[in-house]
Symmetry: C2
Subunit: 435 residues, 2 copies
Amino acid sequence: MVFKVGLLGLGTVGTGTAKILLDAARRHPLLETLEIHKVGVRSLDKPRAVDLPEACLTTDLEAIVTDPDIDIVVEVIGGLEPARSLILEAIEDGKHVVTANKAVISRYGNEIAEAAKKAGVYVLYEAAVGGGIPVIQPLQQALGVNRIETVTGIINGTTNYILTRMESEGGDFAPILDDAQKLGYAEADPTADVDGLDAADKIAILASIAFGGKIRREDVFTEGIRNVSASDVNYAKTLGFVIKLLAIAKRNDDSDTTIQLRVHPTLVPLNHPLASVNDVNNAVLVEGDPIGRVMLYGPGAGEGPTASAIVSDVMAIAATLHMESPAEEKLPNPLLSNAYSDYKTISPMEDLESRFYLRLMVKDKPGVIGHLGDIFGQHGLSLESLVQIGLQDNLAELVIVTHEVKEGDFQKALEILKASSADVDSIASVLRVLG
Amino acid sequence: MVFKVGLLGLGTVGTGTAKILLDAARRHPLLETLEIHKVGVRSLDKPRAVDLPEACLTTDLEAIVTDPDIDIVVEVIGGLEPARSLILEAIEDGKHVVTANKAVISRYGNEIAEAAKKAGVYVLYEAAVGGGIPVIQPLQQALGVNRIETVTGIINGTTNYILTRMESEGGDFAPILDDAQKLGYAEADPTADVDGLDAADKIAILASIAFGGKIRREDVFTEGIRNVSASDVNYAKTLGFVIKLLAIAKRNDDSDTTIQLRVHPTLVPLNHPLASVNDVNNAVLVEGDPIGRVMLYGPGAGEGPTASAIVSDVMAIAATLHMESPAEEKLPNPLLSNAYSDYKTISPMEDLESRFYLRLMVKDKPGVIGHLGDIFGQHGLSLESLVQIGLQDNLAELVIVTHEVKEGDFQKALEILKASSADVDSIASVLRVLG
């Protein structure tokens, strides 16, 4: 039995995907049953890094998603449209779909899953999160027998690269971003990465699978790394932390239906497994009962890794098709389905318990620390450490790490600090601490 | 559709398995289709940590593997016999089998896989390697589309615990082993762990899956950690390494059928992902084309993690049974089969290229270093670093790290060094360095 693949897009990831499919030797034997039938490209004249028969190539993407010979459509053009419409058309036409498109899946995943369920086809997207690292398959399969408690990820390579360099060089955000752009580690428009939007797309997808429910993409609290300064990276190091952009999905202890869902720069203790995930690498830490802590680590982007994830999804579908009876009534593979019925409620940030890192400039005069202590105390905020870093122009720089406190209470205390102009000159930075 | 499970053994792992199966809420919905039908125990009177109907329990293990109501047999009694025979009987009786038994699978895996193929049943053993970490499923599925080059694992928790403590405390092997035994991290008879036999079982299993061939368990070169001294751990640290017991399976560059397969204490560079895998944690690093490097990390043993892996296998089988047509001719799930046709040839150790760490005591007199250099040079052995650590009793302690060299050539040079009594007092230790 041979299954025919229609590939939408022949950019970096599309090229990587074609390379694997065209060269099956010494890979899983199932790959021999897969054949590239059509490849949709923008222009037929462009030179290609992969050797495909000319008859394969077409600029007519619609023709691919409705080609009766094609069993599985692979969407790697990216962006919201026409990707979303092509995916839906392919589904309607009875084709299985594999995509790397986190933007589409995090926003239209529910619509797509429902269409797929109705059409009796599979839509898989391992490549949408963590590049080549097997994340979605393990969450849904091997780890799925656990009661998942937390999924914590470093799932954006660009920001992790920038933060790693800030840490190793002691440099500031802006010049390192500049350099990352020159080196190709950050895009010309870095917004989606540095403002945390890409990580938010991905954690929305992971949360949906980990907790078995629909997620509204707009519910993800998102804070990027633009305001992380060299000083904070340095003070964090002194206190035994490294700053990482974490994406966190967490089941609330007391509830089956509400979860926490957020992306923000975070102080991670140096002995935590995520602390040593550096450069463009990604990692996803899954905590569950009874497994404890498992971490999946690897390259979060790039031609080869992303193509590996895509082809693994194509293979999972092929394996299922291979087993399918020719009977009328096909029973779906329950490990490949991801249509959920209910939405998860996302807890408001102010209800979350967190530790905080706070750097502020205070007046260098007697009684200031006592006054700050009073404000913290009134808001139920206890300090884990308080370090006076230095004195300049009659101002003292204080770095504080709190114990766990409700975010709402912390923010109220912060408002009062900001208004205490007799004691407090300015709040230099506020970051959350993993813990 | 409900599938009935027969559980052989109700020790730690059996208890953990039963706990998950009896409490399916907030886990994968497929678990609701699984039911514990019988549990085989040694004695009916023992108090149990899990609440099972009395009628479930039996001391008659044979009756379980031949019970016509049972679909899936889970073997967690451990040891070679009667585990092997019970597994084979269950297969012959048409039952699917899930086992955590690395000793049986590494020795009798071929016999078992062939019996399973003949009987048209699945035998899965995710729990045999890396406890709860999904290793075998990803290797066979998501990562299987890659051309796997290397699988490198820290896959024995006891030795990793001991080496981690030696490193953090600067202590010697024997007293820390003693303490580990008292704390329950090492068994009363620690041979299987500290001599590398358990890791050898596991890497034989991983190599078979990663490279798609049969492995003879006795082909695994195995060296344990008994001879790793506090001094070596300390010198390694000074040179930027940490000592880990690595299990390595590697495809030879120039061959499709020969691989390297070995377990030995190894100096791992501090910036390598495996270097920060500490305590009883396990990790498996997979390198392949085009994915690059992926690492799977987590708890390598224990009730919860191992039970998680077992139940994930049971669920994989249930998912496949769920899809199966009632037709006469069942098509097997190609992602769950692991019967290989050919044996892999294991390269002899002397042909392997490796870097070496060598600690030796030499006479403190002019010309010694030059003479050693001559011996090394004659065997094609070039030095990456040579450190003179100290002087005592007219002897100088030298620590040498070589560049890559054929093991056979290194061993020849070593023989000559040992015989050079005018210059060399003794060879204190020889360890391999991850390259």
